[in-house]
Assembly symmetry: C2
Homo-oligomer: 772 residues x 2
């Protein structure tokens, strides 16, 4: 655990340079606007520890799969969002010495990510090897009002000398992925050019033998140079090499005179324009922002975002910073404007996991976007899966399923499976259930039942078909069984009858049956779905009903708990307290030892109780929580949030807070020693759930808000905003009571601690709870 | 299945060139002498389909492990026997055209592996692109009387022209492994030199970061040139480049005059000599064979080998060729003179599986070498494992075991684990049992109980310690259980209580207890073992006894069969007849589908019944055979032999023959489409077992031979020779009876069809069975 980031409500601050942690800081200070993003790298050259990363949403490469031993059904490639043109680069040379913070003496250093305003700021003062001292000040952001624009203001101030400063802002496509499977470069140059204060670079991903689409990315930069605040007429000298274009100039500055480079960059890619038009589009975009007060626009836009979803925690600055940090990065990563995009586990903050889509989106992210953004955002995340339905059916076929059975991939970019560990790729099939669940979640929250007719039912039927083929009739048990699966707890592999998987499978079948009835209300829509899917209603639904009735669910009569899988009780049942010195077990134990143990990586049965809480009474939930919680090591970042939510409900506030702390500052404090690879973006949504669904006790049932808040002892208050249909609500929870502000015009009905209340538009409702 | 190899009793013949099958033929026609070997590549250049391979026993490289996703406990490298100096090469140039069979018109072609004489012979007549026709005749072998010597006689005859022929015999270290993980070259040059008719090349394996020993290999060649049968005084021109040395000469030949190159090669490596001495040792070895009639010696030596172990099958030429082919390659691969060596799955015939040691050695090869070679050969295979005991203990530690618990590696060269599939590396632990079983097998066969005192008991105790830590006490079942294993049937992964593994574990404990009592008879030896292993006899053996008593064995009361693992009956129980069009499932099904199915890759419960047949009555064996046989797809080459043996015993001769055919000509007919990668050397021992233990019905119990032969309908007779202690016996089984010839001086007691007989030295015993 690191502790070098200053606690602050709105900012992430590194004061004094921590070169040893630079890759961590780069991750923390990543920027993005949903369409492009980048790690918090320096603009000038840096030869120290750094992971350079510039990413473009939806631009990826099919990297040939690497395995030790090939198994039938493995995908041929792993789609990965690739490191794209470095557009932030600005070389600075003084007296023949290239400025490089790894080679200077650093006299002062300050770097901050300003979450309220949405920018990255840096200030430093250094002494070069030649004795000259300079100050560097920079501010950078990815515009959220113009999401093709990157904006850099970069200032050099000679401190102890007058003299020439040579500066080269550039665009560079000579970049690699650190995680590439075969150390390949992924880019080819298409064109480069420069004229007066602008330069352009157009690159294209290399050809591949998988028949996968190639992507073009073009960038253009526009430079404006000021000396001591005065705009200069500069005659730039173009510098070009393979996949590189720069514009060099030399300027004579006096001591303490600032040389300021305003580098605006436009970036377009072939997802939106034909390749031939990309460079001219960059020109247009650069023209469009001439004279705009970009920073002012940026602040205003971020202010508006925060209005909808800010969370305030009084009395715990570290928790306050943690939750805003999580929300900020979620908002940077995905804006929901483009249904072709999704949320990679690391967003724009690193390469790990290839930027591909996991079930994290459905299980963790959708609840956040439902509450924190316009409902169209969550809808687009659903549409993304609908768009991939045909590929999910093909994926099913590849594994031997037929008749339109869809198995959504474990990880994907374009709908094709990319993962290549058999126990996950082929067996962690509960992901299919999460995709069905998300449809329910969305409709339940928004009331948008039209989604079922248009898109949802097709997906549900196709997934139900998968379940109905994936199960096996066991003569021995006289039940349907689900053999050879891996549940959410990846510390068990290839088990039979994972309770969670069986439950979500049966739930999917039930929900699909309901959905069919709903859609039938509009006969035309139903006929269309039926015919498109060649759906044999009677025959198929009869089988589903049979499965619903006869599914096997492992259960322990003695303890009255659901069993994670067949045979779970044959293990030695220990508690995490018994293995304190062995944790984390994923670093200290061999894989087989982990598998043989009872220890649980992430909520599994409890994940099911969280999803389907209304199906189980509180005693059942409590018994299962008390049984599984002590065996859970939470070595997935997606785990503690579910435990927080359940613990809040079961009135175990200390446990809830303990779990919350694990998730809220996971990256800020680098709990797992892996923040240098990038941030845990999808688990950030889990943190948000911990607060809103956990402490806030928020649920939505059939579009109606239910609240059962509970406050950790050390918090003075918790205030969060959520959007719900036509309402924007602010829920304030204090020591003495709850205040609900209806910030919209329409009145809203709410269940608070089980009692129904109505809050009129622009009114507030106060509930005193001191007597509790 | 290919059918281009001519059926012949003693020879493997390719008549007419099958370029498309060349890699298969190269595998089939591999040569070896236990110390070095090579694929049946051409001497002259060949640009067509070919896998070049020259291998030196015990010379390997630690190739950095390649995985998609790293798991804790994976080994850092995969030890692989590497393609070594190409010492067979002879370039031939005529009128500026390099002879290359891929670029010539082939007029005649004939290639044969002569199994009786132990050489590879080739004859061909080709028309070059320039219209010139030549004949090539070559004969080549790896000497088994001088195992550092390779011998090539290579003749070129101009057919339709007089003219100059340019010839360059060479040694070339510019070789790669096709299966290298990162396309690396593994060799560095140390030195090269040439003088008159000799040249030398000395190379060394590249440095590695695993702290693993590097190996030096040096080769020397000696040339003798004849024109029309007359030895020529040639002044060779040396040709040298990086890792390459050749000796060129040009010779004027008239049409139909033969130009003959006798290339003798000596090869030494640093396993036996200090690197500095290798080149001079090559010189000595070349000097030593000057004037020797190498071919005559080779024939005589092979004759002697065949005397001990030939098998004759009358009435089935294809079966005859098959069994000799298997025996021939087994004898080429391992001679048992060096306990540092073992038997790679492909021997000297290919790269696949890296030439490393599997449990194949103990389960399949040892029975062959026990009967077919001097008992010291099998003993050395046991000593190999004893030599690796410390590494096996370290391997156990790496996975969390302690106190001297040994887990032998799944695959290894030097005792370190190299395999990197978790479900095998960490879980296919029954291999440990096979290593214990082999000790029993050896002592049972040879009566050499001294082995226990000297080496065996240490290994047994260390393995027993592993079992006693690997099991878990299940409160639920009130039994010991073995969680998370993979049995011999690799189409099940990570199962609980694999019957075979549990059985061999308990058997090991029992046998270790017996062995302790045996060794105690010699108090001094026992004290030594006890102190070396810090063996706490009372405490440790008490636990073993407890495990022996309380181990859980899955069993089906209804069918009265042992269950392959917990939950096996929950599967859909089908027969291979139900999936005829899906076979082989390893090519047609995704991995998860295979795992979910009931289908069995190779004998598992039945492997246990074969190993421990005396523990089970015939009805039990029959019930289990009848239950499992129909579910077994035999997609491991190690499977059918066990079924043959059991089928013979259960009087299912048709099934036995069906299984035998699958194994006997597996490579000759390229059943599995993978002979091009190399031959299935270790499964060849299984073929031998099918014949001798299956049809021959041979068992040895406490050094006494038992015979219960049964003959397939289409065989006239089966005759095999086996060695047993002081006796060499020939068993002839015909339609009318059995003849047992005692070829040695000492008389021998045998149980034939359950009746004891005695056969005096040099006598024979005839048993008529017509009345049966």
């Amino acid at each position: 655990m690191k502790n070098y980031i200053k606690h602050d409500e709105w900012r992430v601050v590194e004061s004094g340079f921590h070169a040893e942690f630079n890759e961590i800081t780069e991750s923390l200070m990543s920027l993005g606007n949903g369409k492009m993003g980048q790690r918090g790298n320096f603009e000038e050259r840096y030869s120290g520890k750094t992971l350079q990363g510039n990413y473009v949403a939806g631009v990826w490469f099919p990297d040939k799969t690497r395995v030790g031993w090939w198994k039938n059904g493995y995908p041929n490639y792993f789609a990965k969002v690739i490191n794209s043109i470095n557009w932030i680069g600005i070389d600075v040379e003084i007296d023949g010495e290239m400025v490089d913070l790894a080679k200077c003496e650093i006299l002062e250093f300050y770097r901050e990510l300003h979450m309220q305003h949405g920018h990255l700021m840096r200030f430093c003062k250094v002494r070069l090897q030649n004795g000259k001292e300079i100050r560097i000040e920079s501010i950078r952001f990815c515009s959220i009002t113009h999401d093709e624009i990157g904006h850099i203001e970069y200032e050099i101030i000679p401190v102890n000398f007058d003299g020439k400063i040579k500066i080269t802002p550039y665009l560079d496509g000579n970049v690699q992925n650190r995680d590439s499977n075969y150390n390949e470069y992924f880019w080819d140059e298409i064109s480069k050019s420069s004229a007066s204060n602008r330069a352009f670079l157009h690159v294209k991903t290399k050809g591949n033998k998988f028949g996968v689409e190639q992507f073009d990315v073009a960038t253009g930069m526009d430079l404006e140079i000021c000396l001591a605040g005065q705009k200069q007429e500069i005659s730039f000298e173009p510098v070009q090499s393979e996949k590189y274009v720069g514009l060099t100039f030399e300027i004579e500055a006096k001591a303490m005179q600032s040389v300021r480079v305003l580098k605006k960059v436009a970036l377009h890619n072939s997802n939106n324009f034909f390749p031939d038009y990309l460079v001219s589009e960059c020109t247009k975009s650069l023209d469009a922002v001439v004279g705009l007060k970009m920073q002012t626009l940026q602040r205003a836009a971020w202010k508006a975002k925060w209005e909808n979803c800010d969370i305030k925690i009084e009395g715990d600055e570290s928790a306050q910073q943690g939750i805003r940090f999580n929300i900020f990065h979620l908002l940077q990563t995905y804006t929901g404007q483009d249904a072709r995009l999704n949320i990679g586990p690391k967003g724009f903050t690193g390469e790990k996991y290839g930027g591909v889509t996991y079930w994290d989106t459905e299980a963790y992210c959708i609840p956040f976007y439902l509450s924190a953004a316009d409902h169209s955002v969550a809808r687009n995340l659903l549409v993304y899966r609908h768009n991939h339905l045909q590929k999910a059916i093909l994926n099913g076929q590849k594994l031997g399923f037929s008749k339109g059975a869809a198995l959504y991939p474990m990880v994907t970019m374009n709908g094709e499976e990319c993962h290549n560990e058999w126990e996950i790729t082929f067996e962690e099939i509960h992901r299919n259930g999460a995709i069905a669940y998300a449809i329910h979640d969305y409709i339940n929250y928004t009331g948008d039942e039209s989604y079922l007719n248009e898109f949802g039912l097709e997906v549900l039927i196709s997934i139900s078909r998968f379940w109905s083929q994936r199960i096996t009739w066991s003569q021995n048990l006289d039940k349907f069984v689900m053999l050879g699966v891996t549940g959410p707890n990846e510390y068990e592999n290839n088990v039979n009858n994972n309770w969670y998987t069986n439950y979500i499978a049966v739930w999917t079948l039930k929900y699909t049956l309901e959905a069919i009835e709903k859609v039938k209300e509009n006969a035309e829509d139903y006929v269309k779905v039926k015919s498109e899917l060649h759906f044999q209603e009677k025959e198929e639904t009869d089988r589903w009903k049979d499965i619903i009735e006869k599914m096997h669910f492992p259960y322990d009569q003695e303890r009255q708990v659901f069993l994670q899988q067949d045979g779970f009780l044959d293990k030695e049942l220990l508690s995490v307290d018994d293995i304190v010195q062995h944790r984390p077990i994923n670093q200290n134990w061999s894989w087989d030892r982990i598998l043989r143990s009872c220890f649980i990586k992430q909520a599994d049965v409890l994940q099911g109780l969280y999803f389907f809480e209304d199906d189980f009474d509180m005693d059942t939930q409590r018994r299962n929580f008390d049984f599984y919680e002590p065996m859970t090591v939470h070595e997935s970042s997606l785990s503690p949030c579910v435990h927080t939510i359940l613990a809040c409900k079961l009135d175990k506030i200390e446990k809830a807070y303990e779990m919350y702390v694990r998730t809220a500052r996971l990256d800020l404090d680098d709990y797992n020693n892996d923040t240098e690879d990038g941030l845990h973006i999808t688990s950030m949504a889990g943190t948000w759930m911990s607060v809103v669904k956990g402490f806030g006790g928020m649920r939505v049932k059939n579009t109606k808000l239910h609240l059962n808040p509970i406050l950790p002892d050390n918090w003075q208050s918790l205030t969060f905003r959520i959007g719900l249909k036509d309402n924007l609500l602010e829920i304030g929870i204090g020591k003495e009571g709850v205040i609900i502000k209806n910030l919209s015009e329409k009145s809203v009905e709410i269940s608070l601690f089980g009692s129904d209340i109505t809050v009129a538009g622009q009114e507030e409702f106060v509930k005193c709870t001191v007597e509790n």
